[in-house]
C-alpha cells in the first residue's frame, strides 16, 4: 500500500518534469543557439546540444550591448523610484484615510490598466513631440511608469488595508500626524508591498519594448529591448549574438524568480494583472 503510493507520486514527478521540460524548451533553445558557432547555425538538423559551444555571441554582447544594458538599468530603477513615490502615499490614503471620491479614483486606476500600451505610446509621442521630450531617458521613465503605477496603488491599498487601525488611529488624525504616521509606521510595515511593487515595476520597465520603440528609437540612449530589435531588424544573421543578448536581457527575470518567487506569486494573485 505504502510503496504503491510512493511509486504513484514518483510517477507524477516524472510527468511534472516532462511537462516543465516541454514548457521551458524555448528557453533552453535560446541558450543553446546563443552558444552555437556561426558555421553550425544553418545546419540541418540543428544540434540539440551545444557540443561545439562558443562564447563568441557573448563577446559580441560585451562589445556592443553594454550601453543598452546601462540605459535599461537606469530606466528601470528610475521607474521603480517614481512608481513607489507616487503609489505608496496613494495606497495609504485609499486604505486608511477614507477620502471622498476614493472609490472613483480606484475605479479610474483599474480602467487605466485596461488601456492598450500601444495607444498610450502614440498619445505620449504626440505630447512629447510638443514638449521636446522624445528620445530622452526621463521621458521614457515617466512613460514606463504608467505600466506599473495603477497596479502599484492597488497592491499598496490592499496591503495597507491589512494594517490594524488601532495602530494608526486614522479617525482623529490631522495632516501633519498623518504624514508622520505614514512615514514612520505605515511605510516600514509595508516592506513586503514595497518589494512586490518594486519587482514588478523593474521587470515591466526593463522589458518594455512598445514605449521604447516609439519614444526613444534612434536616440542616443536606447534600452536593451531596442538593442535586440535592431539586431533582428538589420537582418542580422548572427543569431548566436542575438540569442546571447536575449539571455542577458532575461537575467533580471531569472534573478527575481530565484530570489523573490513568493512576491511574484502574491503580486499576480492580488493584482491579477498583465497577460
Amino acid at each position: 500500500m505504502r510503496t504503491d503510493a510512493v511509486t504513484k507520486r514518483g510517477w507524477k514527478t516524472a510527468v511534472g518534469l516532462l511537462l516543465t521540460g516541454v514548457m521551458l524548451f524555448p528557453v533552453y533553445w535560446m541558450i543553446n543557439v546563443s552558444l552555437t558557432r556561426d558555421q553550425d547555425m544553418r545546419k540541418s538538423p540543428p544540434d540539440l546540444f551545444p557540443t561545439h559551444g562558443t562564447l563568441a555571441g557573448y563577446r559580441t554582447v560585451l562589445d556592443e550591448q553594454l550601453p543598452y544594458l546601462g540605459t535599461s538599468l537606469v530606466v528601470a530603477l528610475g521607474t521603480v523610484v517614481l512608481t513607489v513615490a507616487l503609489a505608496a502615499p496613494a495606497g495609504y490614503a485609499l486604505a486608511k484615510l477614507r477620502p471622498r471620491g476614493g472609490g472613483l479614483l480606484s475605479f479610474v486606476l483599474l480602467a487605466a490598466q485596461m488601456i492598450p500600451g500601444i495607444i498610450m505610446a502614440m498619445g505620449f509621442y504626440a505630447v512629447y513631440l510638443q514638449l521636446g521630450l522624445l528620445q530622452s531617458v526621463p521621458g521614457l521613465i515617466v512613460a514606463d511608469s504608467t505600466l506599473a503605477v495603477p497596479f502599484a496603488v492597488l497592491i499598496f491599498t490592499a496591503f495597507m488595508a491589512g494594517i490594524p487601525g488601532e495602530l494608526l488611529q486614522a479617525a482623529q488624525m490631522d495632516g501633519a500626524r498623518a504624514l508622520r504616521t505614514f512615514w514612520s509606521i505605515v511605510l516600514p510595515m509595508s516592506r513586503n508591498a514595497v518589494v512586490t511593487v518594486s519587482l514588478f515595476a523593474f521587470l515591466w520597465s526593463w522589458s518594455d519594448f512598445v514605449f521604447a520603440n516609439i519614444l526613444v528609437n534612434g536616440g542616443a540612449r536606447e534600452p536593451i529591448t531596442l538593442g535586440i530589435y535592431h539586431y533582428i531588424g538589420n537582418n542580422n544573421q548572427e543569431w548566436n549574438a542575438i540569442m546571447a543578448t536575449a539571455v542577458v536581457a532575461s537575467l533580471p527575470a531569472a534573478v527575481i524568480l530565484v530570489l523573490a518567487q513568493r512576491y511574484v506569486a502574491a503580486g499576480v494573485t492580488t493584482g491579477a494583472v498583465k497577460d
Binding site: 507520486r9 514518483g10 507524477k12 514527478t13 510527468v15 511534472g16 514548457m23 521551458l24 524555448p26 528557453v27 547555425m41 540541418s44 503609489a87 496613494a90 495609504y92 490614503a93 485609499l94 486604505a95 484615510l97 477614507r98 475605479f107 486606476l109 483599474l110 490598466q113 485596461m114 488601456i115 492598450p116 500600451g117 500601444i118 502614440m122 498619445g123 504626440a126 513631440l129 515617466v142 512613460a143 490592499a158 496591503f159 486614522a170 495632516g175 498623518a178 522589458s207 519594448f209 512598445v210 529591448t225 533582428i232 542575438i242 536575449a246 536581457a249 532575461s250 527575470a253 524568480l257 518567487q261 513568493r262 502574491a266 499576480v268 494573485t269 492580488t270 491579477a272 498583465k274 497577460d275
Partner: protein, 325 residues
Amino acid sequence: MNDTKQLSDRRSALDRVGAVAASTRAARDRRRPTSPQWAAWGFLAPVTVYLALFYAYPLYRNLDLSLRDYTVRSFVQGDAPFTGLANYRKVFDDPVFAPALLHTAAFTAVCLVFQYAIGLALAVFFNQNFRLSSTLRALFLVPWLLPLIVSSSTWSWMLNSDSGVVNAVLHAVGIGPVNWLTSPSWSLTSVIIANIWIGVPFNLVVLYSGLQSIPGSLHEAAALDGANAWQRFWRITFPLLRPVSAITLLLGLVYTLKVFDIIWIMTKGGPADSSTTFATWSYQLGFGNLLPAFGPGAAVGNLLVVAALVFGLIYVRVQRKQALS
C-alpha cells in the same frame, strides 16, 4: 522556499482585495467623523495629477488626433483642420478593416481558450502535491517573466522555415517544412502559438490559487460516495472554480486584445496583413509607413480602447458582484 508560507501569502493576498472592498463599503455606510479630507487628498494629489498628465492627456491627444486631418507638418505645428469622424469613416472603408477585425477576434478567442484549458489542466495537476511540485510550478512562471522581445525573437528563430528547430522536428516525423512566419496561411497561427505559451503561466497561477481555496474535504466526501476523479473534477472543482475562471478569462480577454509586441516582432502583421490585428494596424498606420497616417492610426487605436474598456467594465462588475456575495 517554504511552500505553506507561499500559499498563505497568496490566500491572504486574495483576502486583502476583499478587505479593501469591505473597508470602502464600510466607510460609505458609517459616516464617522473622518480625518480632514484635505489630508487624505494631500496623499492622493501626486497620483491624481499624474493620472491627469500622463493618462488623460495622452488619451485626449489621441482622440484629438483621430478627429483632425493631420499631416507630418501639421502634426508638428498643431494646426490640422477638424474633420469630425472622417478618419473613422476612412478606417471602416479600408480593405484592411475586415481582416484586422477577424484576426483580432480569432487571435483573442483561440489564445483565451487554449491558455485557459492548458492553465487549468496544469493547475489541477500541480494541485496534487508531489515531490518537486512547487519548484516545477515556479519554473512555469519563466515564460511570463521574460521580456516579450526575448520570447518573440526566440520563437521567430525556432519557427524559421529553413533552420528552425520546429521544422526540424516535423521533418524527423515525416512532415514537410511549414513556412510559419512567411506564408499568409500560417502567420496568424504562429503568433497565436507564441502568445499561448506566454499566457499559460498567468492562468496557471491564478487558477491554482483558486483551487487552493476549495476545501479538500469536499473531494474526500465525494470520493467516499464513489465518484471517480473525472466526476469529481466536473461536479465539484469546475463549478466551484467558476468565479475565479470568470475573472481569469475576462482579464485574459482585456490583455489579449491589446497584444502588440509579439505580433509586431514576429511578423509585423504580415505577410500581406495576414496576421494584422487592431493593435498592429493602428501602429502600422501611425508609424509603420513612410507617409504616416496619424489620424486613421489614432482612430483604430481608439476603437481598441473602447473595446478594452467595455470588457474591462464587465470585469469590474463581475468582480464587484463576487466581492459582495
